[in-house]
């Protein structure tokens, strides 16, 4: 069964998958959604950088990939070690790191 990231995140937040009963935010699912967000950022930035310059492209990529970001953060909020308050508090820092990663200022978005 293939589950799209947003569907997977929604199922995690709801605590269920069809036919599978309650589902916690497994570490693998969080990593997969993080990878999907990272991939979206990378693709979007690559497309826009040559047209608009690197800084506007980084900001545009963050806007374009908002759904993937929300799916990742929702899964992270539902994972055992973090809650919604933790994620809300750290979100600005994560976005800043992602932007710096796109601009080549750091090797990883985390």
């Amino acid at each position: 069964m293939t589950i799209r990231p947003l569907v997977l995140a929604a199922a995690i937040v709801a605590g269920t998958l069809p036919g599978l009963g309650p589902v916690p935010a497994f570490a693998g699912a969080v990593a997969e959604l993080h990878g999907a967000w990272r991939g979206c950022l990378h693709r979007s930035f690559g497309l826009q950088a040559s047209l608009s310059g690197r800084m506007p492209a980084a900001d545009a990529a963050l806007r374009t990939c908002r759904d993937a970001e929300e799916a990742y953060l929702a899964a992270l909020s539902a994972s055992p070690l973090l809650d919604g308050d933790d994620v809300a508090r750290v979100r600005p820092a994560l976005l800043m790191r992602a932007r710096d990663w796109l601009l080549g200022r750091r090797p990883s978005p985390i």
Binding site: P24, H34, L76, D86, R106, S108
Partner: protein, 222 residues
């Protein structure tokens, strides 16, 4: 079925084997404290300490609450203890030895695969555990070796895969040092590459937020 060291249930006494191995190994290590424990020497520690800053209360993790009910002594905060560890070559070698030995002795497995629950904190009594169990066992052993538990705080970070991860922070006069089951290298917190989220309070049985504290350098793809 699992058991707590403090509970002493003997129905599963064979599961203490991993802990016994670690303790036996530490006894050997204690006899070697004059020698460097691997390449991480005391002299190489940062001379300018860097410490994460707590910025307010954070919600405790439910599995930690359950752990503290079952293992109250592991969570107790004694405000008479020093809030910081003054590192000496002997103490540093003990820390390095415990970190390496626990990382080697405990088999890493998620709680879901191991116990069929999303999250459970314990001391890896059966030799199997996930990230927090490694760190709880390290703290248990280091406290037995005489280090102040108050200066050893369980800490939640976001790791290089974007996942929540538990590490152990040693608050020292050389800065906050991070013990991790992903590496035998004990790193200053700023060099881990992790995003720091929260850690146990040094003043009460509670958690404090580490705000937007960032560690700016990613050192390895672990």
């Amino acid at each position: 079925m699992r058991f707590a060291i403090s509970k002493g249930r003997d129905a599963v006494s064979g599961r203490r084997s991993a802990l016994r191995k670690v303790v036996a190994g530490l006894a050997v290590a204690a006899g070697l404290l004059a020698a460097p424990a691997g390449a991480q020497t005391f002299a190489a520690l940062p001379s300018v300490p860097s410490a994460a800053t707590a910025s307010g209360e954070a919600k405790p993790i439910s599995a930690w609450v359950a752990f503290c009910q079952a293992y109250a002594a592991e969570c107790a905060v004694d405000r008479n203890e020093p809030a910081s560890i003054t590192l000496t070559p002997a103490i540093w070698n003990t820390v390095v030895a415990v970190n390496k030995r626990v990382n080697k002795a405990v088999q890493a497995m998620t709680d879901m695969d191991h116990l069929h629950v999303p999250d459970r904190w314990d001391l890896a009594e059966d030799g199997i555990g996930d990230c927090e169990d490694f760190q709880l066992l390290k703290r248990h052993l280091l406290a037995e070796a005489g280090l102040p538990r108050r200066a050893m705080r369980m800490t939640v970070v976001i790791d290089e895969k974007g996942e929540g991860h538990a590490v152990l922070t040693l608050i020292t006069d050389r800065g906050d040092m991070i013990l991790d089951n992903k590496t035998n290298t004990i790193l200053p917190w700023r060099r881990t590459g992790y995003t720091f989220i929260k850690r146990e309070s040094q003043d009460s049985v509670a958690w404090v937020s580490l705000g937007r504290s960032l560690s700016p350098v990613t050192t390895a793809n672990r």
